[in-house]
Symmetry: D2
Subunit: 442 residues, 4 copies
């Protein structure tokens, strides 16, 4: 890595980009981005320009020498980049809204990244990411792909299986868990150490240490309520203490979809009647946000962005890139290839665990807790779903898709899987050429 | 094994026993039982006597030199036995009826061996079987335990983990599958060869050969309906051909609980209103059967027994014992320890696969088909449930029980698991001393 | 498999062929060979004709309807064959003689199939076998390749890794061990059951049962000498009883090269001075044999063939082919792919263990004894050598060859490995095009 | 860990102790030892006193508040310790001298930690270390055992298998390799990053980065000689470049015993005639050293200690303890339990790999290079030897000992193993009670 750091952001027109820009400005000293490319597709021209102008104002106000380029030419953006960040959304919020509605039609949980919704998103997303990888392999073979695009674990595994690009999958859940624990224990975030085990959006915190003291058991056995140990798009249903004790680990927010399936489903069906899906809400938030972004006097990340979700997204992103850039050898929880760390999962699975980050990338650290049957069952079943989903997405394989959905714990039966799959294919025709064109991608 | 074969049947008063007696008579030449002990508990005195008298009449009519003893003294029955058969039902059909009702209360499938019902049965059964094993280890250490008691796979694994007794778990599903395929293809049963992979009551037929020809694909892709590929206590819902093709294997009857969860649940809830649970039906069948058995003129297995289920139970039992006795080295599908045959499951898991049977027992044969993610996900999740269930049953461990139920794909959430577990404990107090007494077993 | 059985023997001019012919004649009823092709290369014309004429006389005398064809056209021989037998020797006994001399030059054991000698043989043989496999895949894709060519385990693994042909590796050591045990215990061969674990020519007998009684421990602890538990080309050094007891298994004859390395080396160096290598002896035996074969009055396998080695070669060969042909499902010890049976070796390794033989081939049976560190260390090291050897042989890779030899326990050091490898390459130029031509095979 | 750090050094009378004292003084700020206990046995009273007095002078001169206690009461020393360091030598240099002579008697390499010599040392050492562990478990259960005692990998594995004490095995080879590479590349030691894979004294450097640049290939393919890439007790035989290239990794010094067995053996046999074994040399060095230590004017570590070996011993020791104490999360190469990091070795094996060091101990990091057959064979065989050695040492099991030696690549045959084992037992009677007393340990 030479000194003149180049970063390409694919999906640069995303409402999250100001978050990222803020991070690049605030931590410019340790992570001196010189060339920043925001790329998007033609359909996103307007949004890209709004974001681009805001970014320019932010950079100027920040007084840092970042040279910003807006472009629709992916090749130009990637060429010689040190880091490529993918934060795209194929089909935009319209597609997400469909993803969330289809499963609910069949009394199954509808969610952007989990269950049948995440499956549909994976089908749309994986071929595009693999296409980007072909460009990276060609124009910036040494670059790291930092993938935020959901389902981030599935995408990471697909890249590892079908590309030679160095990829790290990133989610803000681990950093949020640390922050939430810091708040709970009323200490600095740096005084919290946790061990996480699992896969993206299905991740158990198996050890918690506060100021070097192991508090895992006392925390799990505690009495205080656990409001807030969650992501802000998931109904904040309380964990039962008997269950936490039995589990011996803190589940992540997304675990509510599995461990509280009935309640969440009830909640979603009610919400659907009243206010529509989460995507519908988000659309309104986004519309307001972009309006706000257009204000020529705005030259900071506006506080309203926090409502959008994605808390600490920027911090997570700059953390990983700066640790690589500076060969920091610190510990971060990211998505990487398994290779024996979780012996109950295939060697080629993507997993989300504590990693040591250095110039060569993210290196998982051996777990200190044994993943036993309490965690293993659900983990293996969801991973099998993910493997099948990748095969379906890459090869446009209907059978694999049907089995992927049938295997998912949140899809009630093979018959329901069939109906959901049909709806997904029908409502995503333009985004799933691999299922409809004669000449399949691979 | 000396020539004077001794067999002890624990739970001798079962309505299935005449089935077994018939087998011992018909195949006396190849499997010359000399001493046959039917053991039961005092509460089953009346049934044991009814069965015992019928058995005597059958033996006499059969003209074979089997010496029959009825007893309540387990030690006497086991001492020096070559085979010990366990076919007991702790709590009798009353308990089964409760097992089937409790889950339905919470919109979960209620079934004797699968899901929360099978869990309750495992809690009641495992400690008793391990107690029997202590007797076998002491009084007949060379004997084989042939376990029919459900959940047969879980019981087999518990014995392998917590006892030194040589155990083989037996189910009539594999033999029925062969018979059903023979009927479908209109050939002799001996002309059907199948490869089965999985665990008890969750077993996929991954290869079918008819007269030495591999017909797996053509069978799965076929058009004819698959009525009858089922056990007679499971709603006979048709498999969708797209799904079979995608799966690449023939699921077993019990798979309907998973792959058709919504339909089966609906069916069960309706049935519950109309006729009660399966246990309630069986109670009536049994009452009629025992009435029939009492007829002093009856000296054969009455045809009515067929309605009770357990088709080919006797054939399966004599097959395995005779192959051991005669060192036959033939192939049968039974439950044994894994040790690397299904690499996606723990070494110590019980699995149900094709085995070569010789004097030393049942030896699994390497599979010729790779178990991929299509099968792996569900299999691993249910196996994790089984492991947790064994720990709960052996140690009377509430937490493990809660996690076992939460892990089971047919239990909707941790909250539901908690309610079901509470009901199971409340309604089985007398049968679950390990959860209620101070001094725990093991 | 249709009824008109076709068998192709590649290397038909081998002195062993009459052994095979005898088997085809004697067991024609159960294994009715209709078309028998003996193929050889032009250089072996004379020998092929001698063998062919003897075979014809034997068939005629035997009175069986085997139609015999001699040919140099491999394609013709393979086309539509049910079984292809490979028993070729690249470079003939001259090459073997060099293989045995080179290592001795550097104070390392020189042997045809083990150590550096076997390495050289593998380099010459593997590309030819893979070439034959390309023909089989094209002209007889359903045929079984029954490979006798040494090193048989390495060749089997190479075929499994670099070809789609169904291969079974065959060695007469397992059948000889059974015969030797039968003689030792003075029982019929069928009354001996053994469990073998390991790889070709490095195979431990871990269980011995005589008339259904486990005699393993008493045999290992016995006092009687073990002369004759050996192959007739290996110095018959006695096993120390303390060592056998400690090992807990009966080593095979070839184990003497490892466990008695110093004594065997001393023996070989002396022998080299006196009578030359084993190859030199064999050359004389062969010359006499072919002279004998030419006798137009000879129409049976002459007893002198026994001195050549290869005892029960024919029985082993017909056993495996007949069990496949007749779907016998009996137990034989052959070389197949591992897939988890020996968990200490790679999934793709060839192993030599008890298999159930049916129409689909050879299916390993789960071992009843755990392979612990006592056996594991040597086994893993030799298997690593084999893997490296295959890579060297297939790719003509000098580095892999150097590491293969360095890894072999019978090669004293990396420096010695280098010298031996150089000598092997120098003395085998015409047989190792993969190392010398520009365009490498793969 | 409270602030008043307590360290107990068992084998405090060792000539290496001044090395350690120097480290405690120089790095007192970051690792503020408050209580330092040097323990030894009565037989070592004189040496302990000499060392103790020198230590006091050094501490005084250093001006640090370390409170030093000399004692023969192990319990007192261990009670409440934060770190227990074991650097003992059962039987002292006399025993080492015998260990080195016995194998040479049978033409096998004689070495303190490798081969039959290391085996004898393990037999003497393991029971004593396990006895110390019983004290630690009782009197300082939270303490880390930092074990320097050789064979350090075997001892670490024995502690992990037979004790609950937290142990880290330490060797100065990894730190020396870094220093040697720094010198070779003429950079600071901190500019060298290496990945090491293997086990103690059989460790391959699979990746070398200098100033963030991967130079592994160019280094291995280089022309410069590699004198000095060695430990100073091993004959400095040059690595052949073809071999290094083929191996794809830098072997450690001890690899010369395997890869250059013939040359090293020749060297040792010559040396034995001329100057005796390494132990004999060391005895002279030690005598001179202790004489020097007695000088009341000496209050620093004398430069002569460097000749003794053990370079950077102190740095390695303080590094690991300080990183634990300060929760540094830096990378060090130490001996820990495997658990899937090297998938070719058992889960319970000790391995020597890069670890992240924090307050909880040493956590192995996933390797970035795949350990293939080139490394695997030797590694697995030596590990099998180690496992057998532990069983022999713990249980006083002759058979396991015989197999351990037979399995070791440097022992020529089972017959030689038997002779060596007999000699070891004969010459170590007083140190091997587990083999001679009726009541076995454990
Ligand atoms: Mn996320
Ligand atoms: Mn059953
Ligand atoms: Mn052979
Ligand atoms: Mn060392």
């Amino acid at each position: 890595m030479k000194n003149g750091l180049k970063v390409a952001v694919i999906g640069g027109g995303s409402s999250y980009t100001p978050e990222l820009i803020e991070g690049f400005i605030e931590r410019h000293e340790e992570f001196p981005v010189q060339e920043l490319f925001l790329v998007d597709i033609n359909e996103g021209k307007e949004k890209l320009e709004t974001i681009g102008e805001l970014a320019r104002r932010m950079i100027q106000k920040g007084g840092v020498p970042i040279h910003l380029t807006l472009t629709f030419d992916r090749e130009e953006a990637i060429k010689g980049a040190d880091f490529v960040i993918t934060q795209l959304r194929i089909g935009m919020l319209e597609a997400r809204s469909r993803d969330e509605r289809i499963p609910l039609r069949y009394q199954c949980i509808g969610q952007e990244t989990t269950g049948a919704g995440g499956f549909a998103k994976a089908l749309r997303t994986i071929p595009v990411i693999l296409d980007i990888c072909r460009d990276i392999a060609k124009y910036a073979p040494e670059a790291f792909l930092i993938n935020f695009t959901n389902p981030a674990g599935v995408v990471t595994e697909a890249v590892n299986k079908y590309s030679t690009v160095k990829v790290i999958g990133l989610c803000n859940l681990p950093i949020n868990t640390r922050k939430q624990l810091a708040e709970y224990f009323n200490v600095e975030s740096g005084e919290i150490e946790i061990e996480m085990a699992g896969i993206n959006h299905l991740n158990w915190t198996t050890k918690i240490r506060v100021k070097n003291k192991d508090v895992t058991d006392s925390f799990l056995n505690g009495e205080a309520d656990l409001k807030g140990f969650n992501m802000n798009n998931i109904p904040d249903l309380e964990w039962n203490r008997d269950f936490l004790r039995a589990l011996g680990a803190l589940p992540c927010g997304y675990h509510r979809y599995y461990y509280k399936e009935d309640e969440v489903l009830k909640h979603q069906l009610e919400q659907l009647q009243e206010t529509g899906t989460r995507a519908d809400e988000v659309k309104k938030v986004e519309a307001a946000l972009f309006k706000r972004y257009q204000d020529p006097n705005l030259s900071i990340k506006p506080p309203e962005l926090a409502q959008r979700g994605g808390a600490f997204y920027s911090e997570a992103a700059v953390n990983i890139m700066s640790s690589i850039y500076n060969n920091k050898k610190d510990i971060q929880t990211v998505n990487v290839q398994n290779n024996g760390i979780l012996s109950c999962l295939p060697e080629t699975a993507s997993i989300e665990v504590n990693c040591m980050i250095d110039r060569q990338g993210a290196h998982p650290i051996q777990l200190t807790t044994k993943i036993d049957a309490r965690i293993r069952g659900l983990l293996q079943m969801v991973k099998a779903y993910e493997e099948l989903t990748i095969e379906a997405a890459v090869h446009g394989d209907y059978s694999m898709g049907l089995l992927a959905l049938t295997t998912h714990p949140l899809v009630k039966s093979a018959s329901v899987a069939e109906k959901i799959l049909q709806d997904i294919l029908d409502e995503n025709k333009t985004f799933l050429p691999q299922f409809f064109s004669k000449s399949k991608t691979v």
